[in-house]
């Protein structure tokens, strides 16, 4: 059996180069891979392109990455009212931002996961979001072309991971995590609990192990905003 379980958070983020494109799960304080983010802060990886719904909450979540100036570009839907470290870097032009409607952010990542090379949507037609994008009528509907968002890594927070990488999520901490796990080339999971293979009912697996490459035990920082 391939060994996917890593002994430490620092080992779980080893080998991530400067300039990596990384997806970060989480929404509304729930389901953030806070322990992996802290490991990446320790590692000091620079010039990251981050894909995330928001841009951190004070020093919590992605806030730490912006405070440390590790991120150069972010693709996000809602940076958020308490993303002060991001806003400071953004005002100083140390980070650039692509704003994407939240559901389209999900779909663009899913398109990458599913091997689709683009899709048309009515969302954003006639708005700033449509600027520079191809527009056409399809079935009587003004539609714009959206492209997949690929990533080198996804940082995922799960409730349970079995040793193969099958995952479950707790309540609404699921949010972006399953989509990002499918979309990235390498998915790194911090799990509250690592359980033996076979202990998750096959019908209740949310993320199948095929999408998971590294697993590490979360060290207890669940909420960090």
């Amino acid at each position: 059996m391939k060994q996917k379980v890593f002994a430490s958070l620092d080992e779980a983020v080893s080998g991530i180069p400067d300039g990596a494109r990384i997806m970060f799960g989480g929404f509304g304080g729930a389901g953030f891979p806070n322990n992996l983010i802290q490991a990446l802060a320790r590692k000091g990886t620079k010039n990251i392109t981050a894909i995330s719904n928001n841009c951190g909450t004070r020093e919590g979540e992605l806030g730490l990455m912006f405070k440390n100036n590790q991120i150069k570009h972010v693709i996000a839907s809602f940076p958020g009212p308490h993303a002060n470290h991001f806003q400071d870097r953004y005002a100083a032009r140390e980070v650039t931002l692509e704003l994407v409607p939240q559901g389209i952010l999900c779909e663009r990542m899913r398109a990458a996961a599913a091997g689709l090379t683009g899709f048309y949507t009515t969302v954003g037609v006639g708005t700033e979001v449509a600027e520079g994008k191809e527009e056409r009528m399809i079935g009587g509907k003004r539609s714009i072309l959206e492209m997949p968002i690929h990533a080198d890594y996804a940082f995922i927070k799960a409730q349970k991971a079995d040793e193969l990488g099958n995952l479950t999520y707790r309540l609404a901490a699921r949010n972006f995590n399953p989509i990002m796990a499918m979309a990235a080339k390498m998915t790194i999971v911090e799990a509250e609990e690592i359980v033996p293979v076979g202990s998750i009912d096959p019908e209740n697996v949310i993320t199948p192990a095929i999408f998971v490459h590294r697993i590490v035990q979360a060290k207890g920082l669940r909420y960090a905003g």
């Binding site: 929404f27 509304g28 304080g29 729930a30 389901g31 719904n53 928001n54 841009c55 996000a76 839907s77 809602f78 940076p79 958020g80 991001f86 806003q87 953004y90 005002a91 931002l97 704003l99 994407v100 409607p101 939240q102 559901g103 389209i104 999900c106 779909e107 990542m109 899913r110 949507t121 009515t122 969302v123 954003g124 037609v125 006639g126 708005t127 700033e128 979001v129 003004r142 999520y169 707790r170 309540l171 609404a172 901490a173 699921r174 949010n175 972006f176 995590n177 399953p178 989509i179 949310i206 669940r222 909420y223």
Partner: protein, 234 residues
């Protein structure tokens, strides 16, 4: 800028509905069994004012269907939060799903009703609600564009005019748009207005207001058929 030429001093000095009352009036639009998404601001207050005897299934774009009331102190679970990061309870029959499925619901026409706040609504039903021109910082879109594009019925709750007295219902939006021709009904502190193919139809006015007075604080023509009934809060 919107409201050019409209002076504060021409606004009628009549009582307007409070934010809670706008929410209460808008809640009367919901019907039994409806799947409903409530946006930030006034819409988020509507849960408190549901008509008696109906069950509504509240959707949250982070992947919940069937949210109940907010959690009370001591019962909060911070893995069970709504799109405003507030811990919530569930009602029986709730479900969790990932965010792509949550927005498949918004965009794909599965929600019966969505209610959003608004900065401006045009006479064609265009909505601007995510960015104030000239505001500092990055701004943020969130789920509003997907919701605006996909809900079967989109209600906007907002004050009828800005703090400066400028109309927020306008011929054409000057604020950055959220979506085109998406709004079905506008509930404000002085009126209920439907966006119909023939134009903006005044359905109700706040108690004490006349159709003409509502027109005076509106930046686009209103169609007022016969006598306009008063807004009632259910």
């Amino acid at each position: 800028m919107p409201g050019d030429g409209i002076q504060k001093n021409v606004m009628p000095d009549k009582p307007r509905l409070s934010r809670e009352q706008i929410a209460q009036r808008a809640a009367q639009e919901l019907t039994d069994g409806a799947y409903v998404n409530l946006g930030w601001g006034i819409p988020n207050l509507m849960g408190e004012y549901l008509p008696k005897g109906i069950t509504v299934y509240f959707h949250s774009e982070n992947g919940i269907l069937g949210m109940g009331r907010r959690a009370r102190p001591g019962e909060e679970d911070f893995d069970q939060v709504d799109a405003m990061k507030v811990p919530v309870t569930l009602i029986p029959g709730a479900s969790f799903f990932h965010q792509a499925d949550a927005h498949l619901m918004t965009r794909g026409g599965h929600l019966d009703v969505a209610v959003l706040g608004g900065f401006q609504v045009s006479e064609k039903g265009d909505l601007a609600n995510w960015k104030i021109p000239g505001a500092k910082g990055s701004g943020g879109i969130g789920g509003a564009m997907d919701i605006a594009a996909g809900a079967k019925t989109l209600i906007v709750c907002m004050e009828h005019t800005t703090k400066d007295g400028a109309p927020k219902i306008v011929k054409q939006c000057t604020y950055p748009l959220t979506g085109l021709a998406c709004v079905d009904t506008i509930v404000t502190d002085v009126a209920v207005i439907d966006v119909n193919p023939e134009g903006l139809v005044l359905r109700e006015v706040a108690p004490g207001w006349t159709a003409e007075e509502v027109q005076n604080v509106t930046g686009a023509p209103l169609i007022a058929k016969e006598r306009i009934p008063d807004m009632t809060l259910g």
